[in-house]
């Protein structure tokens, strides 16, 4: 007994020594390109969360691309490449995926803590937390095909699928979070400190976030693919897109994630900057809350679409820099039905449809039915605000007024807007945009199972035929069948008008030409940012 105190500390010491990996020198990329410099980029809003599970907005996605990794990644030629998994095996029947994890990868260290190793436990943890019923995330629908996840050993994970699926390997690009990250080990909510102070394995570490949501990210010296070249990334939010462009013109920032189309002529003529197109797969829309009896009838929604002169708005407010769309896909998508035309601007037809739906003009000129006026609230997020958006909103209000519909516009702060739309469903109409990756997966937008708090079917749209087509699309392994189904979905949703589909705008990123080797992922943007560099003479 008296000897125990002397032995126990020795054992503890030995245990600690074997847990903390030996420190290694920063791994360089050995590509002959210089390290150093700071890249400040402008964003058009402030992300609510910075983790890859609870966020459903593009601003957060871009940050997570810098901070986290998936089991697999994608290269510039759109081929799947190893990332946290160094190799994998797929069973003949396509139902089992075994990933052999990279060893020696370390999580970003928290202040005062030693860095921990990434293991299979983290992969299991990520999957489990993602699929937990209490975790608020739009990701569940994407991973419903996974039957179980097993840890075979510290460096091996096996996924068993319910059925083989198309592009299964690409699905394992989901970002892995550390088991020691969230405060709650079971499920993740927006109240968990992790979502605002995330740690990952990625090329950049979140260093600090100011009160204004300016985010500082530092190069991860221990990054397993080699230290990224640029020392620091600064994400700077701007409420006004005009000011953001001016900030780059006056060298306050080096890059714009998205250039305001109205600024393209000026930037195009300025030799200091490069304009690079990307993100062709987004579109803007007015979305309707079908829970409202006023909007449940598709004739009403179609009437609104006929009432709105989309070409006039696009020409007047965006210099015509975009393409009017007819359905739930962008024209750059493989799923777009080229035979479906946008509903024409036809206010007379709009009025006729409202009449058909039982609405007649009241004494004040506002359409009414059963004594209830067709008066709607349109909620718009302030942080998407630009002169153009304001004009679109006011134009919409006027177009609808012309057919006897009263619209009250309400600008809301971004988080409050998201709460109203996604959590409380307290709205009649919204103006927003969706951004898609190449998969053209609209299931979370229009399947009835995706109605609920923080799910993407915020409008409560439900149609068994659409549900059936979406399920069929997910189940098939036949690409051409999936294309045919998507064409049908496009036609059906154009007919049903759960949204007034507006347009895909011209999308360019703009950056100072001192940034080199800039490859931009068309959806995730920063996937290849660890390779970007600034020549030594131009670093600040």
């Amino acid at each position: 007994m008296k000897t125990l105190p002397r032995i126990v500390p020795l054992i503890l010491t030995l245990t600690v020594l074997t847990t903390i990996p030996a420190a290694s020198p920063a791994a360089s990329k050995n590509d002959g390109r210089p390290d150093g410099g700071i890249l400040a980029y402008g964003e058009y809003g402030r992300p609510a969360t910075l983790d890859p599970i609870t966020s459903n907005e593009m601003i957060s996605l871009r940050i997570t691309e810098l901070v986290f990794n998936g089991l697999v990644g994608i290269d510039e030629k759109q081929a799947i490449v190893p990332e946290l998994a160094e190799r994998w095996e797929v069973s003949q029947d396509g139902r089992t995926y075994t990933f052999f994890l990279r060893k020696g990868v370390r999580w970003h260290p928290r202040d005062g803590e030693a860095p921990r190793l990434f293991t299979a436990d983290d992969v299991l943890f990520t999957h489990n937390i993602m699929m937990h019923p209490k975790t608020i995330t739009p990701l569940k629908v994407r991973y419903e095909f996974i039957e179980k996840v097993e840890k075979l050993d510290d460096s091996t994970v096996r996924f068993t699928l319910k059925r083989p699926i198309l592009n299964a390997l690409a699905k394992f690009s989901f970002k892995v979070i550390p088991a020691h990250g969230p405060a709650n080990p079971q499920y993740l909510t927006r109240e968990d400190p992790f979502v605002r102070n995330p740690i990952g394995t990625g090329p950049y570490i979140v260093k600090s976030i100011s009160a204004d949501r300016e985010i500082v990210l530092m190069a991860n010296e221990d990054y397993f693919k080699g230290r990224p070249h640029i020392n620091k990334f600064l994400s700077k939010p701007f409420a006004d897109q005009n000011i953001m462009t001016q900030a780059m013109m006056f060298n306050a920032i080096d890059m714009l994630v998205l250039v305001n189309p109205r600024d393209l002529p000026e930037l195009q003529g300025d030799r200091r900057f490069v304009l690079q197109p990307y993100n062709a797969l987004s579109y803007a829309f007015f979305g309707y809350n079908l829970r409202s009896p006023l909007l449940a009838d598709k004739r009403v929604r179609r009437a609104f679409t006929h009432a709105v002169n989309r070409k006039e708005m696009l020409d007047a407010f965006f210099n015509g820099q975009g393409t009017i769309i007819s359905g739930p896909f962008a024209p750059g998508s493989w799923a777009y039905n080229l035979d479906v035309q946008p509903l024409p601007y036809d206010p007379a037809k709009a009025v006729a449809l409202l009449n058909e739906a039982g609405f007649t003009p009241g004494p004040d000129g506002v359409m009414q039915k059963g004594g209830k006026p067709l008066a709607l609230s349109l909620k718009v997020p302030i942080e998407k605000e630009s002169e153009a958006v304001k004009r679109v909103v006011l134009a919409f209000q006027n177009y609808l007024k012309a057919i006897g519909v009263s619209v009250k516009v309400e600008f809301k702060e971004w988080q409050a807007w998201k709460d109203a739309v996604f959590a409380e469903h307290d709205f009649d109409v919204i103006l927003a945009s969706w951004v898609f990756d190449d998969s053209a997966d609209i299931s979370s937008l229009f399947h009835s199972a995706e109605i609920g708090p923080w799910k993407n079917n915020f409008g409560g749209y439900s149609n068994p035929e659409v549900d059936g087509l979406i399920v069929e699309s997910k189940l098939t392994l036949d690409h051409e069948k999936r294309r045919t189904i998507n064409r049908k979905l496009h036609a059906l949703l154009a007919e049903e008008a759960p949204y007034t589909f507006l347009w895909t705008l011209t999308n360019y990123s703009g950056y100072h030409k001192k940034l080199r080797r800039v490859a931009i992922h068309p959806y995730k943007f920063f996937s290849f940012a660890d390779e970007w560099f600034i020549p030594a003479a131009e670093q600040k």
Partner: protein
């Protein structure tokens, strides 16, 4: 390239030559405005409708304008045809490789035709033979396959096999008859007469849309020199309609497109251009300008001797604007170089290359000629690059365009994209009114080849508003994209 420059020339020389003042609603003025917006078909229709009622003074100018419009249309269709082939091949090969229930039968049929169009008759024969021998193939498609097989053998100079195949066919349906007319026409067969066959088929189908039939017969009339009839047929044809739609169940349909059509349209428009320009050249008032464009039209058609003759006739004119004179010199050097190469000698091109200054437009013409006619560019390229980097964007747009195409054809895709993007007016991203449609086609091809498919599809989507024939690039590209993308299925609010 440079529709604006063409129009400027037209206006300048017309003012020199014409005696009548132009009324605001003059058909030529309207057509010129449409041409400047790259609404080629509308421009051509305006002139074709107006021509018969114009007085002789205006007819020459109208014919000249029509010739220019058709020349631009021909160039565009030539580039579209070139871009379409690799996309169609990639798509059809992937489809044809799929076996089992629900697999396409027609993919091989169209793959064989596309291989033939792309100058690979030996491979086409293998694929078409396999298709024709498969059990369960519809008789009409089997017959069409054998008709194309015959053409493939004919191209390989095996006329006996070709004839045997054609003679063995019982062409009962309009599609097979139209196919036979088309292959006879392309083989230069005069008995049976392709035009007579075509006439009979058109009478057969009456007013029915029959897209495949009409599309097949355009080339028959064009090659027979019946340009007006071919153009009329184009007007009656839905150019975006598929040749066939294969239904493989309630949730699977595949559209297939005749791979020959774009090339046939390029031939037709070249011919139409030449005819209109020759009509114009008959009038002394506009002969000089007509000769300038005839030089381009003949060169486009591969008739180098006549290109040289027409270009020299233009160069002999006094008072031509320097920019166009320089351009004609480039064309003359190109023609001489092509002729000399045929005679295994010559330094005409090299001499011009050494002597030219750093005029970006002139360098653009030279680089474009190098690319188009596969001439030696080594001396010109470095000067062109320096001029592009030194110049202001607007002034070097044509040069960036030419350099982009040069790198595209060399396979240096990152540089191709960079130069072509520099040439594109980003404030009017895919608008043909602001960007040469040939630039957009080349950029779309560059994006396809760098797997940035959505950028290509965006370009084609815009172009399809004016050029519905682009559908035969959109659909295969959508198919390739859907099969090859590696995305997880993410969507986020903006």
């Amino acid at each position: 390239m440079a529709a604006g420059r063409s129009t400027a020339l037209l206006v300048t020389l017309a003012m020199l030559a014409a005696t009548a003042a132009w009324a605001a609603d003059d058909a030529v003025a309207r057509a010129t405005q449409l041409y400047e917006k790259r609404h080629y078909r509308d421009a051509a229709r305006t002139l074709e409708t107006a021509l018969p009622s114009l007085d002789p003074a205006r007819q020459a100018t109208a014919s000249l304008t029509l010739g220019i419009v058709y020349l631009g249309t021909a160039e565009l269709h030539r580039e579209l045809s070139q871009s379409a082939t690799p996309m169609q091949l990639e798509y059809l090969k992937a489809l044809a490789a799929i076996r089992g229930p629900g697999a396409s039968r027609l993919a091989s049929f169209y793959l064989g035709q596309t291989l033939l169009e792309s100058g690979r008759p030996a491979e086409a024969i293998k694929v078409l033979e396999r298709f024709a021998a498969e059990p369960g193939v519809e008789p009409g498609f089997r017959a069409q396959a054998r008709a194309h097989l015959g053409l493939a053998h004919f191209v390989r100079k095996d006329v006996t096999t070709a004839r045997a195949l054609w003679n063995s066919l019982e062409a009962r349906d309009p599609q097979t008859k139209a196919t036979l007319a088309a292959v006879y026409s392309r083989a230069g067969i005069t008995e049976p007469a392709p035009v007579a066959l075509a006439d009979a088929v058109l009478k057969d189908i009456g007013e029915r849309p029959a897209a495949l039939v009409r599309q097949k017969l355009i080339g028959v009339y064009a090659r027979a020199g019946l340009t007006a009839r071919a153009l009329a047929l184009v007007d009656q044809t839905d150019l975006k309609a598929p040749s066939s739609t294969e239904v493989l169940g309630p949730a699977k349909t595949i559209n297939f497109y005749d791979p020959a059509l774009l090339g046939e349209l390029a031939v037709l428009y070249r011919q139409a251009s030449r005819l209109a320009l020759e009509r114009a050249a008959a009038d002394a008032r506009v002969r000089g300008t007509a000769e300038y464009y005839l030089g381009a039209a003949f060169l486009e058609a591969g008739d180098v001797e006549r290109a040289l003759q027409a270009t020299r006739a233009f160069l002999a004119l006094p008072g031509a604007p320097p920019a166009y004179r320089n351009r004609a010199l480039v064309r003359e050097a190109t023609a001489r170089s092509l002729l000399a190469r045929r005679a295994d000698g010559g330094s005409a091109w090299a001499a011009l290359a050494r002597d030219t200054a750093s005029d970006p437009d002139l360098l653009a013409d030279m680089v474009a000629a190098c690319v188009r006619h596969r001439l030696e560019c080594a001396e010109i390229e470095p000067r062109a690059v320096r001029a592009a980097e030194a110049g202001e964007r607007r002034k070097t747009a044509a040069l960036n365009f030419a350099l982009g195409t040069y790198h595209l054809r060399k396979g240096d895709l990152p540089r191709a994209v960079a130069y072509l993007e520099s040439a594109r007016d980003k404030a009017q991203k895919n608008r043909i009114e602001a960007n040469d449609p040939v630039l957009l086609v080349n950029l779309a091809e560059a994006y396809y080849r760098t797997t940035q498919f959505s950028e290509s599809l965006e370009i084609y989507f815009e172009m399809s508003q004016q050029f519905p024939v682009v559908r035969r690039l959109q659909e295969p590209l959508q198919g390739v994209y859907s099969m090859t993308h590696k995305s997880a299925g993410d969507v986020k609010i903006f």
